[in-house]
Subunit: 140 residues, 2 copies
């Protein structure tokens, strides 16, 4: 079921400071432009690596789900891991049948790459918050 | 400087249970054999994804650095992220010159893939424990 490791999600109190960290300190050569995902309460920015991406995530708005994470981890930290799946609804149904808990309503939302996503509850996933993302049909 | 996302490190109280999770629940198709790294106090197992790997890490011995992490995260969780670099000593010296803190003595050790590795202190890295690993000269 799970395919490519699409990205790792890293929460940060400041996308600008984190872009500087990955670009100027760690020498990553490609950082995208930050953009808002208001429906998810986050502002994000992707750092491109040769084989995967880092998604920097900053809280957007008072209800952002990232505030709680940053309260526990004020410097930021590893927030989630995103794996690609070919068909998000097939993946959801198979995982439910195997006993996994899907976060929220269980209906996929459109994620930062424009394809449907779901999150799996870390309690069933060895403490890791896992995002599943349908593989873009026209990869970019 | 940083190149491929070689792997994400996931701490677990049981490699066997985590292999079952990634293989049987999440449908990853390739899991290696677990092996011990006594010098680092860990037992590890790699799950292969099409573009990267998950390194499952279980404590080995009473002095394992993973015990503290599992005390805070009993189910396990995301422990570190490993980026490849072409030359570990050049990377270390450049990062030190930019103010990063290298964990331990600062002398590279040989990691799970047989090439030299170093860890960077999360306090300078946005709360993320970063491993740098010299790219294998003969990739496998």
């Amino acid at each position: 079921m799970i395919g490519r490791l699409n990205h790792i999600g890293v929460a940060t109190p400041s996308i600008e400071a984190s872009v500087a960290l990955y670009r100027d300190m760690l020498g990553a050569t490609r950082a995208g432009e930050p953009f808002d995902l208001p429906a998810q309460g986050v502002r994000v920015c992707f750092i491109d690596l040769p084989n995967s991406q880092i998604e920097l995530i900053e809280p957007l708005g008072d209800d952002s789900p990232i505030h709680g994470f940053l309260a526990k981890n004020p410097r930021g930290g590893q927030h989630h891991v995103c794996f690609e799946v070919e068909d998000i609804l097939e993946a959801r149904d198979a995982l439910r049948a195997r006993g996994a808990s899907i976060l929220g309503t269980g209906e996929p939302r459109i994620g930062a790459h424009g394809t449907p996503i779901l999150f799996l509850h870390p309690k069933d996933m060895g403490g890791v918050l896992i995002e599943l993302m349908e593989t873009p049909k026209d990869p970019h």
